[in-house]
């Protein structure tokens, strides 16, 4: 079959269903759109099948093992689990199987270093870049990095490895810029936060960084309101930035700021096209059509664009046929998205300019800020860059350590084409 396959470890039920349905909805709709509009890439059509993980690691592993071989002869291009836990558990497997593991906007920070992690791609934004960008934004608002000195910042994080991941970087930045950092943990799942917010009320910080997940986000906003903390001083991180995070808090969410790598909304040509070719044709994947153009959905679309682009790039080198995972990886490492290319894709403003390489599996590291007006997000800033130069040595050190533990000899990225 002249088809390229995407194994989808999706989650459409359970506590994190909102993320799963939105993301995979957008992803699938984009693949459908490419198939419908262009007949695939160079005549190679996309197929996919789903396997429900409920965000549970071992289900994700089972799904991975089940789907990795491809479908009806169509080889798998890449896996996109959208779950930190599953990504970790399939990291070594996918390396052994030579299948790119895409962790857009999340994943292991050190997997940015592609010389040690040849098959893992924390596309666009890894966790370290995320906080760095937020601090840079706060600095911008305060009138410069030097003005951070003496500022009080509280980070309210989810009590999980994901939540803690960025703490060392925050501490590093605090030391560097001289702001006062308080780290407060909210135990999983985070449906009661009275004490944390009372602590915040006592500390009277200038900003609160919300590093939440799932139900923790709306509860944080509600409790903030209850304890009288101004919402427009709360900055949500990349997993606290969807409609599902803000809307349930109702009026309490008004003014809430968060970062995003991709604006929500439908005002992009590619979304218009998806609407035309897929949704209007009655093939849209979303159960709730109102979610078209929301944050999670658009992230799925962005993810689709990047995956398809990798296939396209790789086909240019390896031939117009279904590709192996190894070939697709080359494609990912050679993605070059500049404004011109983005415009061709109809995604200018939706996707940040990206340039990936063997050494850099993240590529972007920029975010925009958006604010909730009570019913939708409005972008309130231009792209704000993370201080990637500062972070790079830390990432490399961590990757080196991993390589040592696992007995991996890093690739020499100088020699990769």
């Amino acid at each position: 079959a002249n088809e390229q396959y995407f194994p989808l470890q999706s989650y459409r039920i359970g506590p994190y269903a909102a993320g799963g349905t939105g993301f995979f909805g957008g992803f699938i709709d984009y693949l459908q759109y490419v198939n419908a509009k262009e007949g695939g890439v160079n005549g190679v059509k996309f197929t996919w099948s789903e396997c429900e993980t409920e965000y549970v690691v071992e289900k994700g592993v089972e799904c991975y093992e089940r789907l990795k071989k491809g479908l009806n002869g169509a080889p798998a291009a890449a896996t996109n689990p959208l779950s930190v836990g599953i990504a970790y558990a399939t990291l070594e497997r996918s390396t052994a199987d030579k299948l790119p593991l895409i962790t857009i906007n999340h994943g292991r920070t050190d997997s940015t270093d592609g010389s040690v992690f040849p098959y893992a791609f924390p596309l666009q934004l890894n966790p370290y870049s995320e906080v760095s960008a937020i601090i840079n934004y706060i600095a911008e608002k305060s009138g410069g990095l030097d003005k951070l000195k003496g500022k009080k910042i509280v980070t309210l994080y989810h009590g999980s490895p994901y939540g803690k991941e960025t703490s060392p970087i925050l501490e590093l930045l605090a030391k560097k810029y001289g702001f006062e950092l308080t780290l407060l943990e909210v135990p999983h799942p985070g449906n009661e936060q009275q004490s944390q917010w009372l602590n915040i009320r006592r500390a009277k910080p200038d900003w609160v960084i919300l590093r939440g997940w799932g139900v923790m986000n709306p509860v944080a906003l509600k409790t903030a309101q209850k304890t009288g903390f101004p919402t427009d001083r709360i900055i949500g991180n990349i997993w606290s930035n969807s409609e599902e995070d803000a809307a349930p808090a109702g009026a309490a969410a008004k003014g809430f700021i968060s970062i995003t790598t991709h604006p929500s909304g439908t005002n992009f040509p590619v979304l218009q096209d998806i609407d035309k070719f897929v949704v209007k044709a009655g093939k849209g994947n979303l159960q709730d059509a109102k979610r078209f153009g929301t944050v999670y959905y658009n992230l799925g679309v962005v993810n689709g664009i990047l995956n398809v682009e990798a296939v396209r790039v790789a086909q240019a080198k390896f031939g117009k046929r279904p590709l192996t995972g190894e070939e697709v990886r080359w494609g990912f490492e050679n993605i070059r998205l500049d404004d011109k290319r983005l415009k061709e894709l109809g995604a200018l403003g939706l996707v940040q300019p990206l340039k990936l390489s063997c050494a850099d599996h993240e590529g972007g590291g920029a975010v925009r800020f958006q604010q909730w007006d009570g019913s939708k997000w409005n972008v309130i800033s231009d792209w704000v860059q993370a201080d990637r130069k500062l972070l790079r040595p830390i990432i490399e050190e961590s990757a080196r350590q991993y390589a040592k533990e696992k007995g991996i000899t890093p690739r020499d990225c100088g020699k990769e084409g």
Binding site: E185, P189, N191, R202, P248
Partner: protein
């Protein structure tokens, strides 16, 4: 010092919210000896049904009544297809059955209403007002009033009515209850229906706070230590337990948390409950197991 009181008060009010869930538990345990793990799912189901109806522009009270009816049907189905088949079986079996039930109810809730996250506004303001330097919200007071009312009503039911005697008899010895002609099926139906109603009330209040979503079913875990401190068989205990847990867990998080590393709220209530149990093995107000030889 006033911060201390603020935390204390906040804790007490949070505790009332836990009690709301615990009451549903106690009700079923006291009346049938079943440790009902599906209470959380029932809360989710009720809230989800209600909010989905609202979103389909059913008026508030219409949605409320309709959800009540659905909870009744649910209770009926549970009695008919699960409990009735498990008469006189050991408690652990019934406990497991409720775990099975929670799968069914959660699956059903999501199948019918989808997995989206919904906001819910009860029209009771959750914005704080100041009272003597402390922040209070109308919503909390409202929740406390609701919980209080439930406790009074249910205590009356159990202790002052004949149905109450029958319910307690069933919890003690189902075989004997059958032998004296107690209509087990009807009682169970009543109890589970009432538990469904309590679940609905809890679901609305919690839903207004968290948003109505899957995680609602997880608040059961908050209710367990409450239940244990109060005793499985005491309705009043559910409130007292809730207050104790709420207050102490907030105080611990705020004042001890920073010393040993934060986020202790998940286990602290359990350890506290454990300490209580070491002194009173059946909770503060629970019935002691009677064992005569």
């Amino acid at each position: 010092m006033s911060f201390f009181f603020e935390v204390l008060l906040g804790g007490l009010l949070a505790g009332v919210m836990y009690s709301l869930i615990a009451i549903g538990f106690v009700l079923i345990y006291k009346a049938s000896g079943v440790f009902n793990f599906a209470q959380g799912s029932m809360v989710l189901f009720a809230a989800l049904t209600f909010v989905s109806l609202l979103e389909r522009s059913v008026p508030f009270w219409g949605a409320f009544v309709f959800t009540l009816l659905i909870m009744l049907v649910l209770a009926w189905a549970i009695e008919r297809f699960v409990l009735r088949q498990l008469v006189n079986r050991p408690p652990i079996t019934l406990f497991m059955a409720t775990l099975g039930l929670s799968y069914i109810i959660e699956g059903l809730a999501q199948a019918v209403w989808g997995a989206q996250v919904h906001g819910l506004d009860l029209g009771v303001s959750d914005e704080p007002f100041e009272l003597g330097g402390m922040l209070l919200s109308q919503f909390d007071l409202f929740a406390a009033a609701v919980a209080g009312t439930l406790v009074v009503l249910l205590s009356l039911l159990f202790n002052k009515t004949r149905t109450g005697i029958a319910l307690r008899a069933v919890a003690d010895d189902q075989l004997a209850a059958l032998a004296v002609g107690i209509r087990l099926h009807r009682l169970w139906l009543i109890v589970w229906a009432v538990a469904g109603v309590v679940g609905l009330v809890a679901g609305l209040l919690w839903g207004a706070r968290l948003g109505v979503q899957f995680s609602l079913s997880l608040i059961v875990l908050k209710a367990l230590p409450v239940l244990i401190i109060g005793g499985f068989t005491s309705i009043g205990g559910a409130i007292v337990g809730g207050l104790i847990i709420g207050a102490s867990e907030k105080l611990a998080e705020v004042f001890i948390g920073p010393i040993i590393g934060g986020g202790i709220e998940n286990w602290f209530p359990y350890v506290l409950a454990m300490l209580f149990l070491l002194v009173r093995p059946a909770g503060l107000f629970g019935e002691r197991a009677i064992e005569r030889v």
